[in-house]
Symmetry: C2
Subunit: 299 residues, 2 copies
């Protein structure tokens, strides 16, 4: 596949928009669609071509990307009326950058196969900053042959591209990632509040432990923000909650009881109930504060 390939991008949100822009700026012709039209006009002014539904994108493009909030959104945009599947054609490759259920990724791959379409589930991590800078980590499931063909495009979007396995394996890796991220976020929250309640300075405790066996990205990066009273995202709590829901549904579908992840999922669900849904995922400490009747920064 050469640089003459035509790209489609559906879902121009916080992540999708900068990713589509990066593809445009790399010189690819890009046809775009989004439910709200303002961002489409913005991209058209930057040289993109406009489409009015997912079918039109698929008809026009060799490689179609989606980047949507959750599994039902992807299912609707790909398999629904005027969906990608209606414009699909032999040799087209479909790449989903959304974070959705592995089960849904596999379902879509199965439905698209008879149209001669190869599907890659390719969720990303690295946030909106990574999307803007083209430094995302991309976890890919699906046929390696299809990945080889779209790799030049993924190289524009991300810095590390890992082929994890067959269809759904990219989503499984992303779910696995979110299990560990939630474990670290909740662990950090619990240890800080325990330390405070027991009468030690949480900031000194973090200093004492962050270089040892407890070392993690979360302890390296998040305490500084929390000690300044900054709980703004970052990665929003309602996205973490959604991803943990994917984890728990996937664990149930495939038979993996996850006692600790289940607790983390509930604590993030509590954030939604407590009006903390738009805070950073590290702000789960707010739930532990409520349980303990204290606050990290109160004297």
């Amino acid at each position: 596949m050469t640089e003459n390939i035509k790209v489609g991008y559906i879902g121009l949100g916080l992540m999708g928009k900068p990713m589509a822009v990066n593809l445009l700026n790399a010189g690819y012709p890009v046809v775009v669609h989004n439910r709200s039209r303002e961002v489409v006009k913005d991209l058209v002014s930057q040289g993109a071509e406009e489409a009015f539904n997912p079918r039109e994108v698929a008809e026009a493009a060799d490689v179609v990307f989606t980047n949507l909030p959750d599994s039902p959104d992807v299912e609707l945009v790909v398999l629904g009326e005027q969906g990608v599947i209606e414009g699909a054609h032999q040799g087209m490759i479909y790449v989903d950058n959304s974070t959705i259920k592995p089960h849904t990724a596999r379902l879509i791959a199965d439905k698209m196969a008879p149209q001669g379409v190869q599907c890659l589930d390719a969720p990303v991590s690295g946030g909106d900053i990574g999307a803007q800078q083209g430094t995302l980590a991309i976890m890919v499931g699906g046929p390696e042959e299809a990945l080889d063909k779209v790799r030049p495009l993924l190289d524009v979007l991300g810095e590390s591209i890992t082929h994890v396995g067959g269809s759904g394996a990219g989503q499984i890796a992303k779910a696995a990632n979110q299990i560990m991220v939630a474990a670290q976020m909740v662990g950090m929250a619990e240890l800080m509040i325990m330390a405070k309640q027991a009468g030690a300075d949480p900031q000194k405790v973090i200093q004492a432990i962050q270089g040892g066996a407890a070392q993690c990205w979360t302890l390296d990066v998040k305490p500084e923000r929390l000690f300044k009273g900054n709980r703004q995202p970052g990665f929003k709590a309602y996205m973490q909650e959604k991803d943990l829901n994917i984890v728990m549904e996937t664990a149930r579908e495939y038979g993996a009881p996850l006692p600790a992840a289940a607790v983390h999922a509930q604590l993030y669900q509590a954030m939604l109930q407590l009006g903390m849904e738009n805070l950073d995922n590290s702000a789960v400490i707010g739930v532990i504060e409520k349980l303990a009747g204290t606050a990290l920064l109160e004297e």
Copy 2:
């Protein structure tokens, strides 16, 4: 305090023995005591002086160390019959390298103060290798003035010495450390078994996520061992369980409900019931395997 200070060391186990040896090798006169006598004879052959109970150690030494399994052991050796307190004298400094409850550390400091003894709780992390090589991380609670006096000794034992705060704060930092270590160990176990059950190669999943937001010491170090079928310690599961018991008792005493740490404590308790107590703390994956009716390495 000069290098003429006389050191006492009580509790010559996996950790205590190499730590006492390092103090001897650094040129300090060391008087030692241990319930089982063989290790005492060994140290005497290396130049240590023998004592027959904790009181005798305290009578002979300027700085008395203990390194014992759990809170009741320390309480008995320090405050019990023929205990350290009976041989305590004005200006003596007592340093506890055990991992015990912050509450017990504070109790002991209170009881020793009238004897003119300053107490430091100074739990370590870094394992038996760190003890042998003198590269431990030491988390210290208690009067800074006492820490300044014994710092040359701690520099022999460890690489990083952090003064966390007043009495008990060293133990609080160690408990905090164990909250995060357990969170990472259980998170790793859950994500590997979820990945396997959902049909992805856990090894590829680990590769895909270990450089991102999930990065941690546990994911850096432990998967390689587990994929080779190696669940030997390392850090023994029954020690992790004991430390999580300290976490939960401390959290209850000082008022910090810890929903996730509570689950981790139960999973490590299950390891004791399943005969996994002498395996590595990463072998908690064995409990998740039991729950899922699968095994990480089974085809």
